[in-house]
Symmetry: D2
Subunit: 346 residues, 4 copies
């Protein structure tokens, strides 16, 4: 931690800062000589000290040198983490494609979609049973009936399934049916939910909050890791900016940044990041080119009739087309599309 | 709803759009004559139709004419809503000042603060028992013990109390102790929590999500109103922008915008909107000048030692100073500081 | 300057950083002992060294301790600067109201507006002769004819006039007619223009770039100051954020921040910051409550027929109403509306 | 244009809107029947009418149906435009790589870089002679001496050269030396400069303003096209968002959006979009995967010693590595790296 004093600070103010640091059991250091006075603190800081120092008189700014997350950092864990979602490895050589409808609407829709995306090369099935909706008047998902359908269709097509959990009290129920729990963008900083999901041992797909920076995202992952759940996959899904032609701005920068700062795998969701189906393929390809370990793509048999997020869903045909473009691109990056293996559950 | 077709759309595509609208039981209208073809839909739209139309071929854009919220809108409810928090009226002539520490740390701290802010003119006491913290390593509040202290000190100083509730399963517990429930910025779109709080009949302080626009905020209020809880107070607390000298950018524009679009009262939280104590007074005054119905201000006996958000807390002395500046300013706007009345509980 | 090394940096990398600093004639300091290695540089850094250090191997981050602007900083010049615009003092006790039409359209429009705003209490007349327009198909101003009209009406009504200059080659011409030169938001980082305006000795109204932070704004002011023109008035006019109900988000935070960091006066332009006439009065009041030294307000005899920015212009009646609200508010802040004095030109 | 009236508007207000439209020589249309009253205007609108209508009483919102740009739109010009920069075609099958130092520092630096980037596969040489710098104390380029060096080295290595022009009065001079004129991000809305560059017949590289949306960018291109210069190449270089780990956020969404809305070619500048050399290769690859027609990459013999933007420059070795990754990726997208041809000047 570095404390930068105001140019006009007094000797007393410097001493007070140094004392406050030593009261906390740390070592304060005040360099002699000209220029701006800087107090460097050697040692591990604890929560709140930064704030305390920043409000002392004469202090201009306090800078944290250490990253505030530990378990999520690459410094702590230099090797890439690979998360197994059932028999699919995320974070290794293979690009994992997770596909399916935004919301589970019924058996026919889900089964047809699952078969189509599997045939085209997807490895994991997605589908929402609990949907966060900006308006209380919109379709909010089938709930447990949706979970049951999802598990059944996953079994039938031999694909692991991922679905969103929105409330702490639903975690056990959703975990019964799903192979991976999704924490949605709006809940990335729902710490009670993070704690609860962290207590399971299920893989977690942690979407980035639409106004959260990478550090806050990794801190949300830290909540899961601290609870003992180290099977965390990050998912970039677009951030909120002034540009509003598309629904969000896909932050492709975040992909190599996450790989540099953290060992956790990261995938990309071009469907939510753009909100328009015709932007999904170019952004999907871009994400993989930048190093994403996988994709989360919305597919619907008839997007015109979808109960949620129709305009961003690919038709079966467009999804096949995307997969045919993705294959050579992955190879150009020395990767390949992850291959679906026979599903062997205990 | 207005559907704008692409310039090169075919007659068939127009017919398909019109048919889709009439299948939904609404009336489609296709004006004759040159220019861009526009299909105006007369009647009440239903969830999902917009999305369905937007994904039809030949469609460029679908524009909603009606606002997506109803109960929160001024069109639905032209008069200002006044919310009674115990015996304090929010949304009327009086400017309500809610003050107290960020987190409840102990009895002494809380009681001293409550007495100081009451003496200076505050009417409602705030204090966090459950704290959302970006990092899992920071102080997360005293929990129920904090609630108890808050209720006790509120009773002792005859001030109604407000505190944050973070999890749906805590709503009943928090409602036992608090006179008003606060939904924090990070939970503004936690719809399960909104549903649950909407089912109580307690006043709710709904903070704006830091990346949510006014429409999304009013839709979050709509979640509460739809459940039958119409005692909603909005709280502007700064939005996230590229400017990072202060923690957030206080969106003062939002105050008159909310007054225009909605009948709900709106207050401002300059402490979180700035993150720096020396910016709190000017922003507090600005918010009231722009029409805010009240303020939420953090005050701490010794901000240097605060366990949370020290640098943004006012000392007792600075709070008194702010109140002395606020009084003439409120009068200049033909308002006054709400006067604390003797608290009469049944 | 502080150089933060990566946790896994080598001793060689540290030495290379230290050598690079000493090559530049500065003093490097490497604290002994545990924790993150930090090299503090004592002395005045020079342009480019930061970038050079940041690209060395083993370096994680370079932090500048000193502010990059000097002449604009309060540390360099602790007293508030007062800028005289003809006989009107900006930055002192008086709140200076600058008002007039967005664009000069003709003599009748301008004279009527000037008389109306003067009668209501404005002290300086504004009007655009050169208009930056997002589209090449919009009205771009009357050019020199507009300048002539402005000067003539300013003379007639005894008000100093301010108008925008957009091109370096127009500076001399505009300076012949105007009492103050305005640099618009889109040109805040047009450094050739800044240099040229800095060479005049005219007061300058420097609007904030809509995506520029306070530091970049003060650096733009520094361009003017370095050329010897110290008559700089800053003008907050809204920044670009994700919220798009209003045209921009007025950054009221910036007002006290500028007062803290700089000695230059700052005024606010609620017309461009909101783009909607009905938001102008509350934001104008908020800006003054937060400490603004003045206002820039668009007024038009018939906003429905205005050639530019009609929806944000106040009618004469609404301007009078605003002034009647501003007066008591200024007094509540121990200020007053600057009083127009008889104009005495040499 | 569509005028949406307030729900409580009067019949008189509707008539006034309709009359105002017909006064302008257009046709107003008021649908009968329930719901929100909508006035659709058939015909070509003219500048300012929208604003005029929006300020009429009873009007809630005015929506433009037609895009405000014409010459830049794909509707106007359905085929892709290919811009020849000397003998290099931008916008066709080939991915054009423009590379070189941020600033021209001297002959040795420039020649070495030109030879290295050409050997690795770049086709166009970049180098700044006039540098826009946020601070007046930083290196601002060699000026005409830099232009001369650039032209000389371009001739020697047989590469066309591109360089930034910052001031209208420099356009002729820069055009004498350069094969393509660059308009920088900070000058995207410097309309005087756009006019002047539009009057030349040189290819123009128009960088996106860091807070400008795609529509404003295409309107800036329209300024050039309206002047008769149709040789415009757009360049995405990152936008300003709340995320500040990297210098900007590369808006990859913008690439397919521009291809949909416009016929102009678009390239990407990952160096400025990230500000960190290690993020340049993944973002370069992502941009091409998303459909970019080329890249603008900063390369420096010794980034540690660069006078400007060192941390974002690639070394020769890293540039070669990028090119070796780019080749297979371009092929996977059915494109190839544009091949340098012998330069044949008339």
């Amino acid at each position: 931690m570095i404390v930068i004093m105001r140019i006009d600070c007094s000797q007393d103010e410097i001493s007070r800062v140094a004392n406050r640091i030593e009261d906390a059991g740390l070592k304060a250091y005040v360099p002699n000589g000209g220029g701006r006075i800087v107090v460097a603190v050697v040692g591990q800081s604890f929560p709140g000290l930064r704030d305390a120092l920043e409000s002392l008189p004469g202090v201009e700014q306090v800078i944290l040198v250490s990253k505030p997350y530990k378990l999520a950092s690459r410094e702590f864990h230099p090797q890439d983490t690979i998360v197994d979602v059932d028999d699919v490895a995320v974070g290794g050589e293979g690009i994992v494609v997770i596909a399916g409808p935004c919301a589970v609407e019924g058996e026919e829709q889900l089964l047809a979609t699952a078969q189509a995306v599997k045939a085209a090369g997807a490895t994991v099935l997605r589908g929402g049973a609990y949907k966060p909706r900006t308006s209380p008047y919109e379709f909010r998902g089938l709930g447990e009936a949706g979970l049951r359908l999802l598990a059944q269709v996953g079994e039938e097509t031999q694909m692991p399934v991922v679905t969103e959990v929105m409330a702490p009290e639903d975690v056990d129920l959703v975990a019964q049916y799903a192979d991976m729990l999704q924490i949605g963008s709006r809940n990335m900083q729902n710490y009670v939910l993070l704690d609860e999901v962290g207590r399971t041992r299920k893989p977690v797909l942690l979407k980035r909050g639409m106004a959260c920076n990478v550090q806050e995202w990794l801190l949300a992952a830290e909540y899961l890791l601290v609870q003992g759940n180290d099977r965390v996959i990050l998912c970039e899904r677009g951030i909120r900016t002034f540009e509003n032609y598309a629904r969000n701005t896909m932050d492709i920068n975040a992909i190599p940044i996450v790989h540099r700062l953290s060992h956790l795998p990261i995938i990309a969701d071009p469907s939510h990041a753009t909100g328009k189906w015709y932007l999904v393929p170019p952004l999907a390809l871009a994400a993989v080119a930048a190093g994403a370990d996988g994709l989360l793509v919305e597919v619907h048999p008839d997007p015109d009739l979808a109960l949620a997020d129709g305009p961003q869903s690919l038709t079966f045909e467009n999804f096949r087309l995307l997969m045919s473009q993705l294959r050579p691109l992955a190879e150009a990056r020395n990767r390949k599309i992850a291959i679906p293996r026979a599903r062997v559950k205990p």
